[in-house]
């Protein structure tokens, strides 16, 4: 393999030619990027949410309060490390380590730049390029949940246990929707490797072509990272701190770190899969060669920051969902919708690959649209009907012969629960 990498080499070949020391350098770089991103994102989140609440936010430590999270980290590290008597000591210690390591691992397959030169070597800012890169990320994310579940279980306390169980249920439910939303991307890109998915978005971003998948992914990534409004696992109002109630000092800091690195990871995955990764905005393609290709990193992080802002915005706007609503939304809305969407996408894909005439494709699209409209109107009708029946059943209450206080029979918000 030549030292400078040929023109026609794919990213995986480029990375495959890396010498060992370069891999090490990249690994350290990724670690540093993740940690710095965490420190900055905690600061940014607090500042932005503060602005949304007409406050200023942390502005004391360092310029604009930039060092606030560093100071918090130092404070946490210096605090007393408590392990409850009822805790399972070994698991209690291992749990935060699992959480914190897995979140970094997922970042290994994220392509941050196109072809660049690093210490004289032609390579790409991506630690490794697996042919099943996206599946690897999903798998790592699932292992990361072990950290949370084990933390909840090993604490030997009620609130953490509930938080851990919630979190596992949450991640399982939303991972299904997330995986399904990615299937459409795989179908269109014809690959599961992150770098080839980015390459496949040279012309059109999948966020545009596969808009429903994009929306489903964005929703489920919020559910996956335990962020507001889906932060049921650490619902302060309900579970004190959820899975990390019993944790203190550095172990708590590790969970905190893991949470924010996770946010960065899912944001970068969303960028990679749907927003063209390190590619420039359409029409600004010439910027990709600036700084010897390093400018692509700016584009990559601009998009990640966009997603990160979305996280913060959601946190500043929406209240936490009730647990049953959350589950209902995941299983009864997101999953069926993604299943139907995948069927449509795969049909269209097969049609175009088999060279179906254009009018067939258009007819199919219209047919699908018609079916969707018919389905929704039927659904609305059934809902109206049920409402009517509810009212009738309420009217049918037998009037007692004696005077009773005037109580308003309350309809619950979900009217379908009322029995006749």
């Amino acid at each position: 393999m030549s030292r400078n990498g040929g023109e026609g080499m794919s990213t995986s070949e480029l990375i495959g030619a890396d010498p060992g020391w370069l891999i090490l350098v990249k690994g350290v770089l990724i670690f540093v990027i993740c940690v710095v991103a965490t420190l900055l994102s905690i600061w940014a989140e607090r500042r932005i949410v503060a602005r949304m609440q007409v406050r200023i936010g942390p502005n004391r430590v360092g310029k604009f309060g930039l060092l606030q999270s560093l100071a918090d980290g130092v404070k946490l590290a210096l605090k007393e490390d408590l392990i409850p008597k009822a805790a399972d000591r070994i698991v209690f210690v291992i749990a935060p380590i699992i959480s914190a390591t897995t979140c970094f691992m997922a970042f290994a397959v994220i392509p941050m730049t196109g072809k660049v030169s690093l210490f004289g070597h032609s390579t790409a800012m991506q630690l490794t390029d697996l042919p099943v890169g996206v599946l690897y990320v999903l798998a790592i994310a699932s292992v990361g949940v072990y950290g949370i579940v084990l933390a909840g279980w090993s604490s030997g306390s009620t609130y953490p246990l509930l938080g851990g169980l919630r979190s596992s249920a949450q991640v399982i439910s939303y991972e299904v929707a997330m995986g399904l939303s990615l299937v459409a991307v795989f179908i269109y890109a014809g690959s599961m490797s992150t770098s080839s998915i980015v390459e496949a978005q040279n012309k059109w971003w999948f966020g545009v072509v596969l808009f429903p998948s994009f929306i489903i992914y964005v929703i489920s990534m919020v559910g996956e990272t335990n962020c507001a409004p889906f932060d049921l696992a650490e619902a302060e109002g309900e579970l004190v701190g959820g899975f990390h109630t019993e944790y203190s000092s550095l172990k708590f800091a590790l969970f905190f770190l893991a949470e924010y690195v996770n946010m960065v990871v899912v944001s970068s995955l969303a960028t990679t899969l749907f927003l063209g990764g390190y590619h420039a905005l359409p029409g600004l393609g010439f910027t990709e060669t600036w700084l010897g290709g390093w400018f692509t990193m700016v584009w990559f992080f601009a998009k990640v920051i966009l997603f990160f802002f979305l996280f913060v915005w959601l946190r500043g706007t929406l209240p936490r969902l009730r647990y049953d609503q959350f589950m209902q939304f995941g299983w009864k809305v997101l999953i069926p919708v993604s299943l139907i969407w995948i069927m449509i996408v795969s049909t269209l894909r097969v049609m175009s690959q088999q060279g179906a005439p254009r009018f067939v494709i258009i007819a199919f699209t219209f047919g699908v649209l018609l079916l969707v409209f018919a389905g929704t109107s039927l659904f609305e009708r059934a809902k109206e009907q049920r409402k009517k029946e509810d009212k009738e059943s309420l009217k049918a209450f037998p009037a007692p012969s004696f005077p009773v206080p005037l109580l308003t029979p309350q309809l619950s918000i979900g009217t379908e629960e009322i029995n006749d």
């Binding site: 932005i48 503060a50 602005r51 949304m52 609440q53 007409v54 406050r55 200023i56 915005w313 500043g316 706007t317 929406l318 009212k391 309420l394 009217k395 209450f397 009037a399 007692p400 005077p403 009773v404 005037l406 109580l407 308003t408 029979p409 309350q410 309809l411 918000i413």
Partner: protein
């Protein structure tokens, strides 16, 4: 029970609950717009130690023992403030004015005057009780300290500073006046003879 009461009617009325369908998609988007727009609004936070906005004019802050125009203390040691205090925060011990040491017009003055700010609830009843307007409240509210003893304010801490033309007591009353003239506000400054006596003038 009146005749026009009917369960059927009541039930029918009560079933007419306003529709509670979830808000439309665009109505829900309004919330997002609200938080987004709020980011660019002026923040309500006051950066306190750097910026100290004026408090209300009649804010109940630290107390002050006032003086007459010639520098004599208004406090006559009557202890009415101490009696009025619901938190028992004030300690007053009166002393006799002598011709050699006249601290306030009239017979007596407050020899010991202490307010314990660990007890004071800033209700202002002491101010209402004071017959000579000797005790009033300032707008000063930064009363925190690191020591319990430091929060018991003595007479020196509470006395109003000497303004221009005032003379540090003890000094005799304005010649030819009584405590009533002081009280009526007829004394508007030190007597020229006293002014000459002022050290390093």
């Amino acid at each position: 029970m009146t005749d026009d009461f009917s369960i059927e009617k009541a039930v029918q009325q009560s079933t007419q609950i306003p529709e509670q369908s979830p808000a439309s998609f665009f109505t829900q988007l309004k919330g997002f717009w609200l938080t987004f727009a709020t980011m660019f609004k002026k923040v309500e936070t006051i950066p306190y130690p750097e910026v100290k906005p004026p408090v209300a004019e009649r804010f109940h802050g630290r107390h002050q023992l006032n003086r007459y125009e010639d520098g004599l203390e208004k406090c006559i040691g009557c202890e009415l403030c101490a009696w009025a205090c619901p938190a028992d925060a004030i300690l007053v011990e009166a002393g006799d004015n002598t011709p050699d040491a006249q601290f306030s017009p009239g017979e007596r003055y407050g020899k010991v005057y202490q307010i314990n700010y660990l007890r004071c609830i800033f209700c202002g009843l002491c101010i209402e009780a004071c017959p000579t307007r000797a005790l009033t409240m300032t707008n000063e509210y930064e009363l925190a300290d690191d020591n319990r003893n430091k929060l018991i304010f003595d007479k020196e801490d509470l006395l109003a500073p000497l303004r221009a033309g005032m003379l540090q007591p003890p000094h005799p009353m304005y010649p030819g006046t009584t405590d009533t003239s002081y009280y009526k506000g007829e004394v508007t400054g030190t007597h020229p003879s006293q002014e000459v006596k002022a050290p390093d003038a």
